[in-house]
Amino acid sequence: MIVSAKVFLWFNTAMVLGIAFISTWWDGRLFARLWPERNDKHDEFFGSIMGLCIVVIGLFGIIRHHLSL
């Protein structure tokens, strides 16, 4: 083991939160930018919605994990 299990868990938690933050920023901006042309750029727009859904799922899971510890 490189680090202890506790450090590893918090490293993973920080990673999920960091990725969730970046993804929210990225897909949130994409969503806002593409909203006026959502029909023409349907695939990109749909991808941004799915990206935001995955962020919500990711955050829900990590919160659930810490509450159940």
Binding site: F8, L9, M50, G51, I54, G58
Partner: protein
């Protein structure tokens, strides 16, 4: 045949070398090193596209090979973690099966277009990222049951959307 030997495809192919290392570290009881192999596999994925642009060797085959390498690498890692009991097997079987249907849809799309090409799905790219995290959650045992079922549900939903785009909607000119 030799036209496929280029730096971008070499980087894509190099991702397969992370698989035996991943299994080795898991079997040795080193999950953190196994996780580093997952991250390395994802990290290399960032560079094949860059190499294709830098060395001007982009091709339809390269794009398809990249997508296939994603499916093979992450599919194998998930299947292995399900095999050793770190991830629940049923949602993983569903995810791998959906991956197979997705590959079939892409082949049919290429056939419809009439050349080797890859359907770019922005949503499925997010799911690929989700599967990487799922493997990480399996290794670290962070809510593996919840994340596996969530990933299967999201992937199924996106696949229905993508299959309609690939097989039913008019192809772009």
């Amino acid at each position: 045949m030799y036209k496929y030997f280029n730096p971008a495809n070499a980087i894509t192919f190099s991702r397969f070398f992370t698989l035996p290392a991943f299994v080795h570290f898991w079997r040795e009881g080193q999950p953190q090193l196994a996780l580093i192999m997952v991250m390395l596999c994802g990290f290399l994925d960032l560079f094949d596209g860059m190499a294709a642009r830098k060395f001007n060797c982009s091709s339809g085959f390269g794009e398809f090979f990249d997508a296939a390498a994603d499916g093979i690498c992450y599919g194998f890692m998930m299947a292995y973690l399900a095999y050793v009991g770190a991830l629940p097997w049923l949602p993983i079987v569903i995810i791998v099966g959906l991956g197979g249907v997705n590959t079939f849809g892409r082949l049919m799309y290429a056939k419809r277009i009439g050349r080797t090409t890859n359907y770019r799905s922005w949503a499925m790219e997010r799911v690929v990222a989700f599967t990487i995290y799922l493997i990480g959650f399996g290794i670290t045992q962070i809510q593996p049951e919840f994340y596996s079922w969530a990933c299967a549900a999201v992937m199924g939903f996106i696949l229905i959307h993508d299959l309609k785009r690939m097989l039913v909607d008019p192809v772009p000119a």
